[in-house]
């Protein structure tokens, strides 16, 4: 059955994505142990894994990004060493964090949101709001 084959392929794809996310997770743990929060955040936000895949992949990837976001202590320092190309994707994850309703996560995301908006401008928020295709 063609449908069955497609489904299988999709599942296989999802597995591959999950594996890649797991690798990423390990790498981030290592970076955090070395006190490199910026590198960890960059690694978390890098790649296209975030955008593709099903809800399960997105959730798995969110956990990884969440880990990197929560490890940030010096918000100003991290954001000033983060390259502008990461701003848009980080904003998407901050909103995902705010949507969780979890107190510590929201606190941290709000802190970052404030500083990120200062740096990246309202255009960054607009791009998050209007992007209905590449959601995280």
């Amino acid at each position: 059955m063609a449908g069955g084959a497609d489904e299988f392929k999709e599942a296989d794809n999802a597995e591959a994505i999950i594996t890649r996310i797991e690798h990423k997770s390990l790498k981030i743990e290592t970076l955090l142990k070395q006190y490199k929060p910026v590198e960890a955040l960059k690694t978390a936000l890098e790649g296209t894994q975030a955008m593709i895949g099903d809800e399960r992949c997105k959730s798995a990837h969110w956990l990884v990004v969440h880990r990197a976001i929560m490890a940030i202590k010096d918000v100003d320092g991290v954001l000033s060493s983060l390259d502008p190309e990461y701003y848009d994707i980080l904003m998407k994850y901050l909103y995902r964090g705010l949507a969780t309703g979890d107190r510590p996560t929201c606190d941290q995301c709000l802190r970052l949101h404030d500083k990120l908006t200062e740096k990246a401008g309202l255009g960054c928020i607009l791009r998050f709001l209007t992007d209905t295709v590449n959601t995280v």
């Binding site: 401008g121 309202l122 255009g123 960054c124 791009r127 209007t130």
Partner: protein
């Protein structure tokens, strides 16, 4: 300073257009009328009021050579206005729409005009001599949502549109009997009327303000996601670039040269974009005064000095509509129109917006931008 004068004409302006000699401006003060103001001794005086539409006028265009005004309105109709003696005489154009008309533009040869509408349709209108009547020909079933802007290619055939479905499209508007065969020299194959030449799917949100560069080689349009798109080689294999900017989205753009674009929108301050030698587009700076002037503080203070002087002048000119303010625009700017053409370089242009003002800008006094313009 780039802003040379600011005039408060109404509470809000939906659209404006200049007479061929730039001595008069037609604007819609957010109602069903068009007001034409004439500059008399440094003072804008209301010369004509065009009343015929039933609802808000969304688009005005004034043709350069034939001195005709076309208006498009939410009442789903257009009028072509001809100056006969001292009166503007309207001719009704039945667009055959079931939703509001949103934008209008004369073609370069002024034998056609295009109307974008909320009915997911573009109307191409042309004059039929035999019947003494403007005929509307529709491009239907091509847009998935409202058509927010239309722009004519210099060849008088190609028309670019933007839509709230997030796409920018280019159509052929070749009409037998209106367009001569040889005017299609720019296109290799024979395109029929309404044929989709290219569809650009770059934005995930509403798109606005499409414009062709003076040569017709580059297309620019904006997305509601604070991005501006530049497209070269419009055809089977277009080359697209998108430029992200940090502030609120744009609504309209104007090519002042092949390599320089002014964008206006919700940020109330026009933005300048330019392409470098390799053709890579980037945001240069704001046109209006900014708290932080990147090119040095002495530069900034010099500017603000000139700014104050000019405002003083316009106030001295005893014109009741001149405004004293620190910002030329205080609400969303929704249209930008060229005012001078020296070859393909536009140094002077005007902007109008929801704050009811028309601001005239001149790049002549802005050394860094003038350098970019004339390079």
């Amino acid at each position: 300073m780039a802003a040379i004068s600011v005039h408060q004409f109404a509470h809000s302006i939906t659209s404006h257009a200049w007479s061929p000699d730039k001595s008069m401006v037609a604007l819609c003060p957010n109602n069903s009328e068009v007001h034409i103001y004439k500059l008399v001794e440094d003072k804008w005086e209301k010369a004509h009021v065009l009343q015929k539409h039933d609802q808000v006028i969304s688009g005005i265009d004034w043709s350069r050579r034939s001195n005709r005004i076309v208006t498009a309105s939410h009442d789903r109709n257009s009028y072509v206005w001809n100056l006969e003696g001292s009166e503007w005489v309207p001719t009704l154009v039945i667009l055959r729409l079931n939703r509001a008309a949103l934008c209008v533009q004369w073609s370069p040869e002024e034998n056609k005009f295009a109307v974008g509408s909320g009915a997911k349709t573009v109307c191409i209108c042309y004059y039929e001599q035999e019947n003494n009547w403007w005929v509307s020909k529709l491009i239907r079933k091509r847009h998935d949502s409202s058509v927010t802007s239309v722009s004519w290619h210099p060849n008088n055939i190609l028309l670019a549109t933007t839509s709230t479905d997030g796409k920018c499209r280019v159509f052929s508007t070749f009409i037998k009997g209106v367009d001569a065969k040889d005017s299609k020299k720019a296109t290799s194959s024979d395109f029929k009327f309404g044929e989709l030449i290219v569809q650009l799917d770059l934005s995930s949100s509403w798109t606005f303000g499409v414009k062709w560069s003076p040569s017709g080689n580059t297309l620019a349009y904006v997305g509601h996601n604070s991005m501006i798109y530049f497209v070269d080689d419009v055809g089977p294999s277009p080359l697209a670039q998108n430029v992200v900017f940090r502030d609120l989205p744009l609504r309209d753009v104007l090519f002042v040269s092949e390599k320089m674009v002014i964008g206006v929108g919700f940020d109330c301050n026009p933005m300048v974009f330019a392409a470098d030698e390799r053709g890579i587009w980037s945001f240069i700076r704001y046109l209006g005064e900014q708290e932080v002037v990147s090119s040095g503080s002495s530069y900034g203070s010099q500017f603000s000095e000139a700014f104050g002087k000019l405002y003083g002048q316009s106030k001295h000119g005893a014109s009741n509509d001149a405004v004293e303010t620190s910002k030329p625009h205080e609400n969303c700017i929704n249209s930008i129109m060229p005012m001078s053409e020296q070859g393909t370089l536009i140094r002077r242009f005007s902007t109008s917006g929801l704050d009811g003002r028309i601001v005239l800008w001149d790049l002549e006094n802005v050394p860094d931008l003038l350098e970019l313009l004339v390079r």
